[in-house]
Symmetry: D2
Subunit: 304 residues, 4 copies
C-alpha cells in the first residue's frame, strides 16, 4: 500500500474545503489559530511514517487527551471504573447535562465531558501528582519529552469553564465526584491544554493499534482485551453525536478534539493523526473528517 501517494492525493482532494467550517472560539487562544492550517501523519506498525503539511506543528489536543486519561484510569482502577461511567453513545451533544440528570449522575461514556470529569476524579484519587504523571505518560507514549501544556489555553479554559463546572457539581451532587470539584476541574482544564503535533499523536496512538505487544508505558499497563475495549469505545463514542457518522464514513476507532485534531487507528496496521482547525457544527474538524474518509476509501481499509 503506497500510503504516501494516497496522502498526497487526499490532500489535493480536501483542499476545496479549506474555507468551510468555523474555528472554535469559546476561548481566545483557540480562536487565534490560523484557520487554514493542516497536517497529517500516519505511522505503520512496521514503523514507517508518512505525512503531509504541518505534521510537526503542535496544537491544542483538547478532548483527544481523554483517551490518555482514560488509559491511565483503567490501569489504576481496573474494570471498577465502569461502575462510574458507561460505554454507551450519548446520542446528544458533548456537553449535555440532560442525560446526566436523567441517569442519576452516571455519564454515558468517558468521552463526553461529564465522563472525562469522572475519569479525572479517579486519577486524582490515585495519584499524588496527577498533572506530572499525565504528562509523563503522554511523553512516553509519544516518545517526546518536550510535550507540555499551553499555559494561555490552560488559564483561558479555567476562566470560561462554567459549563464544565455545572457538569462537575451535578456529578458531585450524585456522589460521582469524590475529590474537590475545583481540583477536578483544574486537572481537566490542564489535560485539555496539552499541545501535541500530528506526529506526536500518531506515535502515541500506535500503542493502541499494536496488538502484538503488551501495552505498558510509564508504569501504566492495559491488558490486550483492555486496549481492544478502549478502541471499541473510541469507535462508538469518540465523536460526540457524530460518532455513528464517523464509523459509517471512516470505519475506524478514533477521537476528535475542538482544537481541530483527530486521531484514528487501524488495529494491527497503522495509526493516523490529522489536524485542521475549522470545525463542522458537531465540533469535529471538517478537513480532518474528510481526509480520514478518503484515506479509508482509497486504501479500502476499515475495520468493517
Amino acid at each position: 500500500m503506497d500510503y504516501q501517494q494516497i496522502i498526497e492525493e487526499l490532500c489535493l482532494e480536501i483542499a476545496p474545503l479549506q474555507k468551510i467550517g468555523k474555528v472554535a472560539d469559546y476561548i481566545p487562544e483557540l480562536a487565534k489559530v490560523p484557520p487554514e492550517k493542516f497536517g497529517i501523519s500516519l505511522i505503520t506498525l512496521e514503523g514507517k511514517d508518512f505525512y503531509s503539511g504541518l505534521y510537526q506543528e503542535a496544537f491544542s489536543i483538547q478532548s483527544i487527551s481523554k483517551v490518555f486519561g482514560l488509559s491511565m484510569a483503567l490501569s489504576l482502577a481496573g474494570d471498577s471504573l465502569w461502575s462510574r461511567v458507561g460505554v454507551e453513545p450519548s446520542g446528544t451533544a458533548f456537553n449535555s447535562i440532560v442525560q446526566l440528570e436523567y441517569e442519576k449522575g452516571i455519564p454515558r461514556n468517558p468521552f463526553i465531558n461529564a465522563g472525562a470529569l469522572v475519569v479525572a476524579d479517579v486519577l486524582l484519587s490515585h495519584l499524588k501528582s496527577p498533572k506530572a504523571d499525565l504528562l509523563e505518560f503522554i511523553r512516553t507514549l509519544a516518545k517526546n519529552p518536550a510535550i507540555d501544556i499551553n499555559i494561555d489555553v490552560y488559564i483561558s479554559e479555567r476562566n470560561t469553564g462554567s459549563l464544565n463546572a455545572s457538569l462537575a457539581y451535578m456529578l458531585k451532587s450524585y456522589g460521582n465526584i469524590k475529590n474537590d470539584v475545583n481540583q477536578v476541574l483544574d486537572f481537566y482544564f490542564f489535560q485539555c491544554s496539552i499541545m501535541m503535533s500530528c506526529y506526536d499523536l500518531a506515535t502515541a496512538m500506535l500503542a493502541y493499534a499494536d496488538h502484538s505487544k503488551s501495552f505498558d508505558y510509564a508504569g501504566y499497563s492495559l491488558t490486550h482485551s483492555g486496549v481492544k475495549r478502549l478502541n471499541a469505545v473510541m469507535l462508538t463514542c469518540g465523536f460526540y453525536d457524530e460518532s455513528g457518522e464517523f464509523s459509517f464514513r471512516v470505519g475506524l476507532p478514533g477521537k476528535s478534539g475542538v482544537g481541530g485534531g483527530i486521531v484514528a487507528i487501524y488495529p494491527q496496521r497503522f495509526s493516523v493523526a490529522v489536524w485542521s482547525p475549522r470545525l463542522n457544527q458537531k465540533g469535529n474538524s471538517v478537513m480532518g473528517m474528510k481526509a480520514l474518509e478518503l484515506l479509508t476509501t482509497k486504501t479500502g481499509l476499515s475495520v468493517f
Copy 2:
C-alpha cells in the same frame, strides 16, 4: 482456529445463565417459546460450518429482519435513503418516540423501530410485491427456499402494535412516511414474523462478512463500500441502547431481535448466529450476548 472446540467450551460456560432473563411476552406466540432453547451456528468464509444445540430450529427473527430490509432499501434507493434516516446511535430505548419528535421525524438510525418503519415505507414505494420480494431476497441470501413467516406471530403483532402505530403516525405527521400507514405497519409486522434458524441466519449473514465478492442477491446489489457501511451501522446501532456494551464486550458488528436471536460477523472471516429466548432488560438475549462475548474473547478475534 478450532471453532468447534471453542463453541463447545462456551456452551458449557454459558449454561449457568439458562434461567436468567425473561422471554418476550408482548405477544403470546413469543411467550410460548420454551425459554431454555439454545442454538449457535458459525460459518467461515471458506464455507466450513460449526454449531451446537438447536441450530436448525427456526425462530422468530424479529428485528434481525431490519438488516435485510435495509439492504433492499439501500439497493433500491441508494444513498438518498440517508436523507430520511440517520446513522447515529439513539442513546435511548428501541421504541422511543421522544427522539423522533425532537428531531422532526428523522429517525436516528434504521435499526430502531421508527427507522425500520421508514425503510419499510421505502420498500413499499419501490416494490409491487414487497412481502414476496423480501422473502425471496432472504431465501436467496440464506440459500433456503423454505423460509417463511409464522402466521400466528404476524397476526399477533398486528393486534398489539399500538406503539408502532404511534411511531408510524408520528413519522407520517412529519411527512416521512409516504404510503398508507396501515400498509407500512402491515409490512413491518410481516418482516418481524419471519422464521429462520441459526444456520439460516449465519448463511445469510455470510454475505455481509465476505468482502471478496460482490453483494448481489435476488437482484439486490450493494457496493463494497455499501456493505461496509451497513456493517458499521450494525456495530454502532444494532443493539438498541446496549450497542456500546456489545461493541465493548464482543467487538463485532451485529443485530439482535426480541425473539432471542443475535447475528454477528467478523469481516473477511466468519458469520455467526446464536439463539436463546431469555432477554435481559435491554431486550437482548442473555445467553446469546455472553456466547458471543466468549467467542471473541477465546478466539481473540474482534474488529478492534
Copy 3:
C-alpha cells in the same frame, strides 16, 4: 363598571395588532378565514351583555370544545377521571408526545391533546350517541339550538390528523384508550369542528362563572366544587405552554383554540369570549390575548 365603554376602548387599542400573527393553516378550512376578523362578547351574571365587532359570527371553536367535553366526562365518570388524566401544566407544547411517554400514558392535563383524547374515550365509553349528546349539551349551555359542526373542517381534521393519531396510539399502548382508536379520533375531530360565535361562547361559559346556582345542563351536572376545580384547571392549563403568561397578564381562568377564539370567566361576575384568527407562536390569538389583558387591566378585575 361601564363594560361597554371599556370594550370600545380596548378595541381601539388592539387595532394596531391587526396584521400581527399567523392564521392556523394546518387545514385549509382554517387558513381560508379572513385574518382581520374580530369579535368580542361579555355577559354579566345579571344577564347584561356587551359586545363589539363580529360577535355573532360563528367560527371553529377547536380546543375550546375541550372545556365542554371535560364537563360531560366529569359528570359521567366523577373524580375517577383524574386517575386517567392529571391536572398539572404540561410545560411543553400542546401536542408533545414526549411527556406522555415519560409519564407512562397519563396525560398531564385534560387540555393538551392527549388529555382531550382520554376525555373523548371516556365519553365514548359512557354514551351511545356521543356526538349528538355533545351537541345537545353545548346547545343547552349556549341556549342556541342551531349550533353545529362545520363539515369541511371535520373532514379536513380527519385527513390531517396524523399527530393526533400518533398520540392516540401511544395512549392505547399504555392502556389509557379503551375504545377503538379510530372512533376516539373521529369524535375528537368532530368536537374540534363545532362552530360557535362569541355570543354563543360567552353564554355557554356563564354557567362556569355563576356559582350561585347549580350546574345542570342537558342532564349533565357538576358540583359547586367541581366547577371551581374545572376553572382552576383552565387557569393553570388552558393556554398550552403560555398558561403562565395568560394567568400573569390576564389573571382569569380561560381556554383558547387555534381557530382564534378565547373564552374566560371572572367567577361571580362575568364571562367573556373574543375571536381573532391571527395566532402568536404559541398558538393563541394575538388580538384576543391583548383584548383580555386590557379588559382586566382597565376593570382592575382579576382573580388575584
Copy 4:
C-alpha cells in the same frame, strides 16, 4: 365567617395524617425537627387573627423566601426582570436542570431554584448589603424585628449545595448570572435559612392579599398590578410540579418550602400560613396541603 371554628375543625380532620410523609433530610438541621409539629395562622384584612398549634414557633422558611426575594427584585429591576426569568410552570421537579439547558439559560419561573438564583443575582447587582436588606424587608413585612437566619441551617446548606452550584454554573454559562457564582449561592443559602413562625408569615403575606393599599415596605414598592401578577405566578408556579394540584384542590395563590411551611392568600380577604415538617413526594407539607384544602372547602372561598 367563623374562621376560628373552621381552623379547629380542620385541625381535627388532618390529625390522622400526622405520621404520613417524610421530613426533609438533605441537611441534618432540617432532619432534626420533630416531625409531628404543626401550626397554623390566618389573618384577615381587617386585622383579626386566628390560629392553632405552634403558630408562634419559628421554622426554616426555605423556598417561601423566594416570594420575598422576588418582590425586592421586581421593585429594583421592574419588568426588565422578566427578560431573565419566565412565568411559566416548569412541569418538572423543582431542581431540574434539563429545562434550563433546553431553554438556553432562562429559567421557567422565579420559584424553581434556577429562577431564584437569577433573582438572587439581580439583588446582588443592585444592593450593597443584600443580606441585611433582605432581612430588613422581611422584618418590616412581618412587623417582627427579631427575624433572623438559623446559622446551622445556613452552613449546612452551603456544604450540601452541589446541585444548586450546578444550576448556578449552568446559568453562568448562558450569561444569566452576572455576579460571582459563589456569592450568588451564598446569598441564596442565606435566604433559605431564614426562620419565621406561621404568625410571622401570615403577617408578611397580608401585604400581598391587601389590594386596598399600596405595597411599600422598607423602601421596596410594587404597583397594584405588580402584586397581582406576583400572586398569579404563585398560583401557577408556587408548588413545583404540584402547582396544578394545589390550584385544583386549594384554589389560592401560595408558596411552599421544604421546611414544611406553606403560605397562601385570598386576595382582599386573608392570608394564611401553615407548618408541618412531613413532606409528600413532591416536597410539599402533607398536613399543610390538606389543611389548606379543607380551609377553602369549608369556607367555600377560592379564587375560582
